[in-house]
Amino acid sequence: MQSEFRLPALGADMEAGTLVEWHVAPGDRCKRGDVVAVVETDKGAIDVEVFVDGIVRELLVPPGTRVPVGTVLALLDTEAPAPAPEMVQAPPRTRAGEDAGEAIQQRVKISPAARKRAQELHVDVVSLRGTGPEGAITVQDVERAGPSPQPSPASVGEGAAGMRAAIAAAMSRSKREIPHYYLTTTVDVSSAVDWLAAHNAAVPVTERLLLAALLLKAVALACRDHAGFSGFHRNGRYEESPVVHVGVAVALRGGGLVAPAIMDTATKPLAALMDEFRDVVARARAGRLRASELAAPTIILTSLGDSAVETVLPIIQPPQVAIVGAGAVAERPWIVAGRIVPRQALTLSLGADHRVTDGRLGAHFLARIAGLLAEPAKL
């Protein structure tokens, strides 16, 4: 049977992309997960994977073409029905006659004008709350959720300005829709710092670890222990992700930010995490991330440890529900058993979605991260 390979939305803020290069030609066989195309987006050049096994029948979009999200880029012949992509949200489609009753029940109540506007702005209407009659989604609801109604040159173009517009859209939506609560705690990470120094002194330079790798692992393990922080809030409800993919916020030197995922973070040993972390930072800065990495994060870690910043109050990337921040490690006076001693202190912070969790749960989650960092050898 035939399968359509569409331009995926690499996060809620992406509207369109420019196809830069095909890695396959008609007749080529490809497997699920193969990179078949390179697409230039607000987040840089992204390697886009295919989600089915099959043979390329036809390439529909020539390199150099800018197309909206959801455009069919190529047709593939597959043997089995195409499984739905796990990470990348393709625009929902309903096939006539197939579970019609169920489809009608789940149908979003949205006005024709709002639906048209949502297509123009590439707004996912499923996550919107309608303010029209009978709770229907109206044009105003769509425009509130979407990027600016009049596309400015900045939001249309790729590159730094495009990325800035994309960040603006995502963060504005986050602050509009997500009732954030913030918690911070300053913890003694001397044992982690000491353990790292000892480890790094003992291994070849290529095997050295950064504190961020420990943080990644600690966040991932804490997510496994505490529900409500790793998943997506969509369509008015929260779904916990069965697998934790911690995204790591990578600042780009020219300005801007991307947060690719370290896939299945919780199960990987520190050495593997560090290798992937190094690889993903290099590719983020070279503009060669994979589509799946950008759409996958179930929670993000943002570390400003290389600056003098003590505390970061991070903003959630929708549709995620939590983000963990880490400031710089600094030597501070600490009271241990009644005596003031110098200790390596780190301020951890949590921005979380009050629709899903409350401060008490957030406090437990943050304490769990701190607890894990206190025993670095077990990470």
């Binding site: 790094n200 070279a286 290389d306």
Partner: protein, 81 residues
């Protein structure tokens, strides 16, 4: 290794780690971090590159001595001597 070539070779390593940095624009006396946000990941990659390029194993405790191009050249000259 020719002592005169050292700054240029180091600069090549820096720009390989930070491809968006123009080699000509790097000011030798100012810290990489202050010039183009060199972070801990960059520093680690830089240490790996120095090991590969010059066979010099820079311990973490010496990272502070790699901060600028001038400091780095001086440090390498000392280690390679």
């Amino acid at each position: 290794m020719n002592r005169e070539q050292l700054p240029r070779r180091v600069l090549e390593l820096v720009t390989a780690i930070a491809p968006d940095v123009e080699a000509d624009s790097v000011i030798p006396g100012i810290a990489f971090r202050d010039q183009f946000d060199f972070d801990s990941m960059d520093t680690l990659n830089f240490a790996i590159a120095l090991q590969r390029e010059f066979g010099v194993d820079v311990p973490e405790t010496d990272y502070a001595r790699l901060a600028s191009l001038d400091q780095c050249v001086a440090y390498l000259a000392e280690r390679l001597a």
